[in-house]
Every structure is written in C-alpha cells, then in structure tokens.
Symmetry: C2
Subunit: 322 residues, 2 copies
C-alpha cells in the first residue's frame, strides 16, 4: 500500500478480508487493491490511478477516473451503470450475470405456486378463524408458463418450472433453444403466443426496448386468471395496467420483487393489495457474502492479468443494455 505510483483496483462492492488478500496476491505489484466500500468518496479522489472498479461508478466519478478501463459489477442488471457517458466511453463493463439465480428462481416458483394453489385465500381464512374457505386453487402440473427472458436467471426459472411438470415457453432475442424450455420464441413472436399462458415469469433486463413491454394488451392476451411474477426490473411491466387487470380478475395475482420506481411511493396501490406480493428486491436473498459474484470477478481478473481482455466473461453489450 506504499507504492503510490502503482495502478489501482478499487473495490466499491464489499468483499471479505480473505477475498481482498487473494485479489492482492493475484495482482502482485501490478495493481494496488484499495477497498473504498465503506468510504466511497475516496474513489474519485484517486483520480487517474484507478484502472479497474469492482462495483458502481457514478457519472461524476467517471469524469475524473480518466485511467479507468474496466468495471465489473457484483450484480446482474446494469442499467444504472449504462448512462450516456459510460456508453460513450471505452470502459469495458462486465456483470455478475446469473448471480443468485437459484434464489431468484426459487422465489419466482414460490410466488407462482402461492397464487396458483390458492394460498392467499387460505391465509386470509386462517387469519380470520375460517376453516373451510372458497378456493381458486388450480393444478400446477400441466399448466403453461412463459419465461420472458431466458438468460442465466430465466433458464433456472424455466428448469424449475419444467421439473414441476409445467410446460415452459421461453422467450429470448433469437429464439435459440434454452435449458428447461419446451419451446422458445423471439420477443417479436411472444405477443402472439399468450393465449394459453397461465404463468408469466418476467426476467427481461431493463432497456429502452423492454420498457413497459408487458402492458395492458399483453396482460389481457394471457389466459384469464393468469399469475405474474417479476424478478428482473420494474420498468418492464406497466404497473398501472397490471393493477387494472388484477382488479378485473384477468390476472389473479402478482409477485413483484421489483417496481418502478423502487420503492413504490408510500401511497402506491401496490402496498396493501391482497393480490400483490411485494418481495422488496430481496428475492435473491440470502446473498451469502457475494461468493458467487466474487468468483466471477476473480476468474475475470485472472483473464485480465494474462492480457486476455477479449476473453472476459459476462461482457455487457452497451447497446443492448445487458
């Protein structure tokens, strides 16, 4: 830490002492590993010495970090990092794609089952001292799901739904086959294949192309009584339209880990709605020390140190937004 001339690898996202020591050992004298996770104002003060950042870089910071070449995030959705100056820069952005995908997929499946098997009514009855309640429970096995966005996370959702006997239609940009999906179609085709969909799982990244992709007409084209789960980004769903369709019973319930904005305003009708389950951007919990994200970063750093910048994993396409 005495070599003031060496380049800096700055940690904005937190890591354990062991992880930090391991990174410093990998870097040798080439980079000085500086932990600014508890004092991030120091990031900008290091100026052009910073060549690599693990975590978020804000626009004002980017302006002074003139030596910055690579940003690795400890999370999956990078739309907050893709502001115009970052897009215009030469800085390489990589993300921890699929980080916590098992947890996110499990919360999605839990949320879909919760509504599909009638648990909200059962819980309501149970709390009110009612034994034999009306139930809208339906059979999950043999129902049909659309997983909108079968990337790293969507593929795990698809695999788990498939394992429970659900027929899964995946959606991605190219329509190429994806794990766990009985069939795959493109985003362009998705709107014409909604009529038999009981369960909609949203795993699309936030981008100008996906903004309010799930709108009123989309929701009304699903099979009546469909259930929605969103663990990607709130902006992908038109929330006002979703609430209208829930109130008309076209949609029988929604589990939302993400909203737009986040958190919702205190007077948002999402709060207190009996058919909305908000999971407060915690569907990925427990995150457990960011071990997965750390492993992705360490592997990428080794490639970077070997000079193989072209082989970095999970490079973000700044135009596509993910």
């Amino acid at each position: 830490m005495t070599d003031k001339d060496s380049r800096v690898l700055a940690l904005v996202s937190g890591l354990t002492e062991t992880q930090k020591d391991e990174l410093q050992a990998l870097c040798g004298t080439r980079y000085r590993v500086e932990d600014v996770s508890g004092r991030r104002d120091d990031l900008a003060s290091m100026g052009d010495a910073v060549e690599i950042v693990y975590g978020m870089v804000r626009p004002a910071e980017l302006a002074v970090l003139t030596g910055l070449r690579w940003v690795q995030t400890s999370w999956t959705g990078v739309e907050n990092l893709l502001y115009p100056e970052m897009i215009a820069s030469d800085v390489v952005v990589t993300c921890s794609r699929g980080h916590c995908s098992v947890q996110l997929a499990e919360t999605t499946v839990a949320g879909l089952l919760y509504f599909w098997r009638g648990l909200p009514e059962f819980f309501q009855a149970s709390q009110s001292g009612v034994w034999a309640s009306e139930t809208r429970a339906r059979v999950f096995e043999g129902s049909r799901a659309m997983v909108l966005g079968v990337g790293e996370i969507g593929a795990v959702i698809a695999r788990k739904l498939h394992a429970l006997g659900v027929r899964v239609r995946g959606v991605n940009t190219s329509g190429r086959p994806a794990t766990g999906c009985d069939e795959v179609c493109t985003l362009g085709q998705a709107r014409d294949r909604l009529g038999d969909v009981d369960l909609l799982a949203v795993g699309l990244p936030a981008s100008p192309h996906t903004r309010k992709f799930v709108d009123g007409p989309f929701l009304r084209a699903l099979r009546p009584g469909a259930v929605v789960a969103n663990i990607s980004r709130g902006s992908v769903i038109d929330e006002a339209a979703l609430l209208r369709e829930i109130d008309s019973s076209q949609i029988s319930g929604a589990m939302l880990d993400v909203t737009d904005p986040e958190p919702p305003p205190a007077d948002s009708p999402l709060f207190g709605h009996p058919r909305v389950l908000l999971t407060g951007h915690r569907a990925a919990f427990p995150i457990e020390n960011n071990e997965t994200a750390y492993r992705i970063f360490k592997e990428n750093l080794q490639r970077w140190l070997r000079g193989n910048h072209d082989t970095l994993a999970h490079v973000v396409d700044k135009g596509m937004g993910y």
Copy 2:
C-alpha cells in the same frame, strides 16, 4: 330400475350421469346402480339387497346391510370407515389411494416454499406499506426433507421436492426404496434421523400407531428453523407441541391441511397465528368431478364382475388402518 330382485350397487359418493350410466352398462342385470348421494337415508332402507357401496357406510347402516360385501371409497384416508364392526366384518374395503396426490403434493411444496423463501414476512411487509423488510429466506435447493409416509401421495411429494434439488429422506414401514427419495428409512429409524431435516412433510395415515407420532421431542430433534407441512391427518401431530415449537422458533412455520379435531375450535391458537397456514382440508382441490376416484372404482368394478375379487386394487389392511 324395475327389477326389485337384483342386487344393488349403491352410490353414496356422487358421480355424474355419464359415469352412472357407464357403471350400469358394465353391471348389466347383475347389479342395479342406485344413486343415494342426495338422499342417503335410503341406503339403510334397501337392506340386504345392497352388495356394493361406493362411499361411506356408517355403523348403523352396516348393521342392516347384511348382504354388503365390498365398500370402495372415493378418498384415501379410511380411518372413519374402520370402526370395530367394519373391522370385524368380512366386508372388503378398498380406497382411492393417491386420489388427488398431485394436488396434495403441490400444496405441500407451495407451503414449504412459502415459509422457506420468507413469503409470510414479505406479505406482511407488503400489506403494511414496508418495502425493504427483514427476511429469513433460505435456499431450497440443497436443503433436506423428510417425507413421513411415502405411500401414493408421499411419493409424489418426494418426487416434486427432489425435482427442486431437495435431498429427500422417505419413511415407510419397511424401509423399501420409494420413488423420488434419495434414501428411505423405517418409521422406527426416523426418530434417530431428524438432526439434518429442514423440511418435514407428513403423509402418514391415521391409526393408533401414528397418533401424535410427531410430538415435542420429534419436533425439537429437527434442524432449528425447520418447516412442517401436514396433508394427511391431524392426529399424527401433537398440535400443542407444534405450537410451542413454533412460538420458540424451533419450527419456523407450519402448513396444516388437517387438524385434530377438524375444524379446530373457534378459539384455537391455530387460527390467527402468523406462522401457521391452514388450508382447511382443501389442499387436494380442485377435485374435478372425482374423475380419478371414479376411474379407480370402475377398474375395480370390472375386476369384481369378472369374479377376480382377489385382484382388487387398493385393498385396505384393516389391521394397519390403510
């Protein structure tokens, strides 16, 4: 319906007109199919003419149905039918074992995921206008389940849990291998193999041998924070002990489709408990016209009519109670 001398097949459990016609066609002149589902007082009045009953036979009815030879139930758990007079009689009892097993397994998985993934806290927060709540969510994949009773229903529970990456220890009387289970032990061994169990699914039939099998010591031997689901019979669990262990956080939640007695008294602490989800003996819904139970009965009736009484399926062992 004019032949007053023919033997009677009496339907106490309801069937559709088509199903009834189909049964009468199978029986020809050998049995007259009588639907007493809407007027069951008529059952006893038919006296010794009744040879087969589809549905419940009460002790007072058994006393006058002196020609009764076979009772087929449209449900799985037959303890209410196994009163001393029925046990002492020569009447063959068959059940619709595994009827609605997919629905029961799905409600079980939904209930276990509900507690394991922290949905009660999320719903509570969501209802109270809180976004970022504390969560006790844990990873389902890699957790360990015990399925107590891997009969027709328990095996489907095991299969579904296994499909979600849970390691499943099945329990049955003999310890013989069972579908979906990574390992199987006997009821006698179960108590010594609780220390690593996160998820307990109860699928044991009610009998004097299983009464309060899951008691305080059993629950305290599970891994701290375990979740319980019961879709078989309330008498298998000591409810007072369960509530104590929930209140001490040894058990982090329980989904109970069945209680003892049923329904619970209005002042039961099961009602209104935030960590108890009662599903009001409706976990098997939707039952959809009893089609599965009907198919089991029809197949058994064909065997009976061919004179192959020894080949009836799902014959109840009156001593074992299932």
